[in-house]
Symmetry: C2
Subunit: 197 residues, 2 copies
């Protein structure tokens, strides 16, 4: 999927490599969705993608990465979005706005997003991995929130609680969305955020 950070020159090699990775991910996701993540072996994915097992692990460090690595860039994007919000804005609102980058992405391809969520939510290790990734994003986000709260050490815990709770809202909203893809994610998120205020 997309992963541009320096928006200028992508060598032909990189473009091709990304295309191959996307193609592998597509085959793999389809298999996962049909048979379940755990009962698909890397060998299966490799032969379904027309590559060797060894090459699979060059494109994706782990089997889980096929499902998860596409979202890696969102952490930074959410943090940047929150940093760009007005300083005097209520931090809870700023956090909510940060997740708009995710909402927009889901809205761009609801069926694909729903399939990915289906795979993640039906596999304990993937749920765990996703939660832990959100925790890592939260660590990156907390200093910004702490700064707005006054940056006293006493506010550190408060900032952590707010940030992690906001990710809890995101996870809840995404879980509801996965069970009912015709719901609008942004409305679910708004409702979850409202519940804590």
């Amino acid at each position: 999927m997309q992963s541009s950070s320096a928006g200028s020159s992508r060598s032909l090699k990189e473009i091709k490599a990304d295309a191959v990775a996307a193609s592998i991910a597509e085959s793999a996701l389809a298999l996962f969705d049909k048979k379940g993540f755990d009962s698909v072996t890397v060998d299966e994915i490799a032969s379904a993608s027309g590559i060797s097992r060894r090459s699979f692990f060059r494109y994706f460090g782990t089997k889980e990465d096929v499902v998860v690595s596409g979202h890696a860039a969102f952490g930074e994007m959410i943090i940047e979005m929150v940093k760009g919000r007005p300083q005097e804005e209520d931090v809870w609102v700023s956090l909510r706005r940060g997740y708009d980058v995710l909402v927009d992405n889901v809205d761009r391809d609801p069926e694909g997003a729903a399939r990915t969520m289906r795979v993640i939510n039906s596999t304990a290790s993937l749920r765990a991995h996703t939660l832990e990734k959100h925790g890592a994003w939260a660590v990156g986000l907390a200093p910004e929130i702490a700064r707005r709260l006054g940056d006293l050490d006493a506010r550190r815990l408060e900032a952590d609680a707010l940030v992690h709770a906001s990710f809890a809202c995101l996870d809840v909203a995404l879980a509801h969305f996965a069970r009912n893809p015709k719901a609008r994610l942004h409305e679910l998120l708004d409702a979850a955020f409202k519940a804590l205020r």
Copy 2:
């Protein structure tokens, strides 16, 4: 560790098995704390415990279970505690009181709890596993909270958000406790809960 559910007769066998498991866990935790979870093999744990590799997997289904399975019972205990709170009590307060069973357990052996938290917090897969377990507990807890909120379907998301956010507070408080074991966990938890109200 303790795992009594039917509070009556524990056969001698079971008592002995629990003791063996506790002894294995002690050796393993010491190794994990010294060398890091990932660089300790099951073979090492087995020989350090004077058992075979195969027997290790009879006591613990996975290497992670050595660290994590001791807390399995707390999920049910937290749910029972919350169910036992007065019906008219504010749900946020009821949730906070539920975690007292964890706080009490930590207070009973602060050094041991800190060591376990150290091991968990320094290993991504264990952090992930713990988060996912809390998520599973949240699923068990949500119906009770939804019931108190009026049980309308519209309240389902709200209940989920509250429950998951309360676990986020718990995780934040535990993380702070792991970094600073001289802090009082119940105060950290109170502060985290207060931050969301």
